[in-house]
């Protein structure tokens, strides 16, 4: 199966692990992720104001490239997924934004949100299937107690994201189960880590992270996983180092037995 792939700015720099393990694991599962040529940064935050057009154009260019490729568009970073999904929704439903963006970009074929944007986790759940994934696991992560950290951007606003139940999500828990580990459900898994506000006020982000880590630990989590490089940064930077945090793809890579398979661990 072929998919267009949008890595985004952080996966090429600080979050190379998220990208590398994701690509290697996908290849091992028979999925071809074809990186879009000449993609641009999505902007990292969705421009909420309805009169914002220019700030949506880079996302629209990526969406159009996938449409022209004739494949769904796969994302890994939570922020990219959030921005691309919501901008795509605007192009489907908001005639004013659609008209202005098309007038500006003047594509050979106007864009109206035809691309299907799917997150890597949805690819695993809906295209491969967690049952099939379980069969592909060579090294089940037995005895590991793992807390899923969803954060905000994959889930909300659920009306637009359509990712999972926004208050009681289970896709990452199902993923953890498929890999043979034990998912630990805790209340703060869908509360904000502090996001970009950490640049303005570390104290504010630290307060959020404290609540999340304490809550996860109280429920028995021994490690956390996330799909977001900014969540990863906050969760690691604002704690004492006693709670390991990994990317979802690193866990997958390990369970698929690729670490022992001779493939390089580091990019």
């Amino acid at each position: 199966m072929n998919y267009s792939y949008y890595p985004g700015c952080t996966l090429k720099t600080k979050a190379q692990d998220l990208d590398f393990y994701g690509r290697e694991s996908a290849a091992a599962l028979g999925i071809t992720l074809e990186e879009l040529p000449e993609w641009q940064c999505c902007g990292a935050v969705y421009p909420i104001a309805r009169d914002e057009i220019a700030t949506k154009l880079s996302a629209i260019r990526a969406l159009m490239a996938a449409r022209d490729n004739g494949t769904p568009l796969v994302t890994l970073c939570s922020a990219c997924h959030h921005v691309l999904t919501r901008v795509n929704g605007d192009m489907q439903r908001n005639a004013d934004i659609r008209m202005k963006a098309n007038n500006y970009l003047k594509p050979a074929v106007p864009y109206a949100g035809e691309t299907r944007v799917i997150h890597y986790l949805q690819l695993l759940r809906d295209e491969i299937g967690f049952d099939n994934l379980k069969q592909a696991v060579k090294k089940p992560l037995k005895g590991r107690k793992i807390g899923a950290y969803y954060g905000c951007l994959l889930l909300r606003p659920s009306k637009e994201m359509q990712f999972d139940d926004p208050e009681n999500p289970h896709i990452i828990e199902d993923f953890i189960k498929a890999l043979g580990a034990e998912p630990v459900v805790y209340a703060m898994r869908n509360e904000c880590c502090g996001g970009y506000v950490t640049l303005k006020s570390e104290a504010q982000a630290k307060e959020n992270v404290d609540l999340i880590i304490k809550n996860a630990r109280a429920h028995g989590a021994e490690e956390l996983i996330t799909a977001c490089p900014l969540c990863m940064y906050n969760l690691r930077a604002h704690q004492d180092g006693s709670m390991p945090v990994r990317y979802i793809t690193e866990l997958l890579y390990e369970a698929l037995g690729l670490r022992e398979g001779g493939a390089a661990d580091e990019t």
Binding site: C152, R156, E191, Q204, P229, A237
Partner: protein, 132 residues
Amino acid sequence: MKLDEKEIAGIIKEISGSDVKKCMKCGKCSATCPAYGEMKFHPHQFVTMVARGKIDELLKDETVTRCLSCFACVERCPRGVEPANVVAAVRVLAEREQGGSNFVPDEVPALIIADKEIPQQALVSAFRRYRK
């Protein structure tokens, strides 16, 4: 041309897409806000003040930048008012004023030197959210 408070409130309603009159003042948005203690005005106050056209104080308040855009209030509002969109609209109007930004590019190198792990995503977000 200088717009009055009511006219600016009208623009905020338009670009936020929020129907602020639907608010039934249950306070759930502010109760669930993870930045509650950091902001001078809370989500329910943004909604009420915009509905009343009293927004001068909102536009002057710098703590609006502490909103995390986590959309918890949007998700949990039982009336579909989407308070975070109102906050974002106020913020965007403040940023569009000359000198309305409180984040300047000159601050960025020091941030990166101070912590080499800061992801690009945070910097790009900061440029979008703190500055026009």
